[in-house]
């Protein structure tokens, strides 16, 4: 990532956390030791009182530093680095009873939310498991403050995610909105408008034939990117800001506009299937066509049809083509008239599908084809965006 400058905050990104952890570990250890002594009963009343006060102070300190929050139990996940992997069920049951009887005495300790919006546990694994077992929806929690430069750290996480290809396009879309909002304060409160801003700017570039420069400018040095952004004719600072972030991450705005951001418009049940069951983005996009409008049915029925189809796709491990066929069939079944097919299009689609790219010997032909297809794709996407599908 030559385009990302080395910042001090980045170099020290993990140190602050390591230090914080060390301090907390030390404090907790001390308290645990005191607790042990408490149990053995060698402490007099006065010492006990002091100790309890200390416990309260530590928690209060944490609560003040990170603020105390009600966090959904479902959004919390076990710390993978938690050395204590096996916690016996009886302990959890015991704690569950205690929670029901006395409520939650002290907040659990969490790390700030990750890109997927979930919180990793720092302290309170047993309480968390106990809460789950008795159906509690939320727990009081404090967040361990992260002293590192959040923006750089977050950007670093995205870069790592892109490189390792572990980041789902939907996560990438959400992460980008978040990052652009963090980097450009004027967009923070309006980050849901970012896809629209990108789309408008991109369409303009396309009309002017300048969108073809993107492939090259994407891998250009940062100064060159900046210069391009300033001179290419964006309407306002918002458009510039969106492109600046994307190019800095060496992402192609065309892909983000046509493939990644549209995922934000997916039906909630499809987003859920992506998050929980790892549904492919391309398949989700196809399934999303099963809307109430396309199927000509009510919202809840559309959702039920979509959910069934999604389950079928996941269980039977359908290929993308199979998904497309399934979707076509379902639309045909529920709303035959809206689907009178244009035979020329059907034929063309078939030709394209059968085309063996590896057989194209002439590089120029291939580039020409790529260009035409990209333009068509963009037009189709634009049309879809207008239609709101």
């Amino acid at each position: 990532m030559a385009a990302v400058k080395v910042g001090m905050g980045q170099l020290f990104g993990d140190v602050g956390q390591a230090q914080q952890l060390h301090k907390l570990r030390a404090q907790l250890e001390q308290l645990q030791a005191e607790n042990e002594r408490l149990k053995t009963g060698v402490l007099d009343e006065r010492t006990k009182a002091t100790l309890e006060q200390q416990v309260e102070e530590l928690t209060a300190q944490l609560a003040q530093a990170g603020g105390e929050h009600e966090i959904a139990v479902a959004l919390i996940e076990s710390d993978p680095n938690q050395p204590r992997t096996a916690i016996a069920d009886p302990i959890v049951r015991e704690r569950a009873v205690s929670l029901q009887r006395h409520g939650q005495k002290t907040p659990i300790v969490l790390f700030p939310p990750q890109m997927n919006g979930r919180y990793a546990l720092f302290d309170g694994e047993i309480r968390w498991r106990a809460a789950q077992s008795i159906g509690w929806k939320t727990l009081r929690a404090v967040i361990v403050p992260n002293t590192s430069d959040e923006v750089e750290k977050f950007e670093g996480q995205i870069v790592t995610g892109i490189h390792s290809q572990k980041l789902h396009d939907l996560d990438l879309a959400n992460a980008l909105l978040h990052l652009i909002g963090m980097q450009h304060s004027h967009l923070r409160e309006r980050r849901w408008e970012i896809p629209k801003i990108l789309n408008t700017a991109f369409r303009r570039l396309q009309r002017q034939g300048k969108h073809l420069q993107l492939a090259q400018i994407r891998s250009a040095p940062e100064e060159e990117q900046q210069q391009w952004i300033e001179t290419v004719g964006f309407k306002d600072a918002q458009e510039q800001a969106v492109f600046a972030t994307l190019l800095r991450l060496q992402l192609n705005p065309i892909t983000i506009n046509n493939v990644v951001f549209p995922l934000l418009n997916l039906a909630p049940d499809l987003k859920q299937a992506i998050n929980a069951e790892g549904l492919d983005a391309s398949k989700a996009r196809e399934l999303n066509r099963l809307s109430s409008q396309q199927l000509d049915v009510g919202e809840s029925e559309a959702m039920s049809i979509r959910t069934q189809a999604t389950q079928q796709v996941l269980k039977q491990k359908h290929s993308l083509n199979q998904v497309k066929e399934l979707v076509e069939q379902l639309i045909e079944k529920y709303s035959p008239k809206s689907h009178s097919r244009d035979s020329a299009i059907v034929k063309f689609t078939k030709t394209v599908r059968q085309l063996d790219v590896q057989m194209i010997a002439n590089l120029q032909d291939l580039e020409e084809l790529e260009k035409v297809l990209q333009e068509k794709l963009a037009q189709i996407e634009a049309w879809r965006n207008q239609q709101g599908t």
Partner: protein, 260 residues
């Protein structure tokens, strides 16, 4: 660095022992010594047969009363194995010093850049850690790694009482180099630059972690020439700026020694 510092403290009348944990054995050059045989080097401290007689060699005994060193060198390569095979592993250096006390007010461990295993052995035997760092990106990244390492290892090794970070000191600073100035957030005259956010500087980051930052030590030809002459800079060029730049660290060390 360790040599100059050890000398500076010794010159104030304290007993100082310098223990070289580096295989390169560069102390030999800095102090104008001959190569030590394995039995007379730091390697002996890691051996089971060690009988408590430290192979100390006096340094510049005509000028300071009590500055001694134990030389490192090639023999330490074998010590690496000894650490890994010992039941107490990283603790053996600390154990050794506890069992056979070394008559010194200050013991300085000079560790190599690689932290495994000598850095850990030294950490487990230390009360304080002083980190010299050259203000360049590679070294800064390395330093950040060291801090992270430090916090993790203290917990891992359950060191009680914890070795404390005495501070860090930017060394070999060249004000003519833009990188050095930018990283330290200073101008060519060495004054603080207002336009640089403190969080974007090395001292800013470090102080943000609550770690003390000593005034920087400038690169000086005297250091290079002094090492060629086998002398600490304080003897090579008494009263020069380079030798005075150690004063704040010496003062702090003395304060720590007196308190304890």
């Amino acid at each position: 660095m360790a040599v100059h510092l050890a000398y500076a403290v010794a010159s104030r009348g304290y007993k100082v022992a310098l223990i070289e944990l580096d295989q390169s054995g560069s102390l030999r050059i800095f102090a104008g010594l001959t190569k030590a045989i394995p039995e007379r080097s730091t390697a002996i401290l890691f051996q089971k047969k060690f009988d408590g007689i430290y192979p100390l060699v006096p340094l510049w005994s005509d000028r300071v009363k009590a500055l001694f060193a134990i030389q490192g060198g090639e023999a330490l390569e074998q010590s690496t194995n000894e650490i890994y095979f010992a039941a107490r592993r990283y603790y053996i250096l600390g154990d050794c010093l506890e069992k056979y006390s070394l008559d010194a007010d200050l013991i300085v461990f000079d560790t190599p850049a690689a932290l495994e295993p000598m850095g850990l052995a030294a950490l487990a035997a230390s009360t304080h850690v002083l980190v010299p760092i050259k203000p360049e990106y590679k070294d800064t990244g390395g330093f950040a790694g060291l801090l992270e390492w430090y916090y993790n290892k203290i917990d891992e090794l359950k060191l009680k009482p914890e070795p404390e970070i005495l501070g860090f000191v930017p060394t070999r600073v060249e004000l003519g180099k833009a990188t050095h100035r930018n990283i330290l957030g200073i101008d060519e005259k060495g004054s603080k630059r207002q336009e640089i956010e403190p969080t974007q500087t090395l001292p800013g980051q470090i102080e943000g972690l609550g770690i003390h930052c000593f005034p920087y030590i400038r690169e000086s030809n005297y250091f290079l020439s002094a090492s060629g002459a086998g002398l600490p800079v304080h003897l090579y060029r008494p009263g020069c700026e380079a030798s005075k730049s150690f004063d704040p660290i010496v003062t702090k060390l003395v304060q720590v020694m007196v308190e304890e």
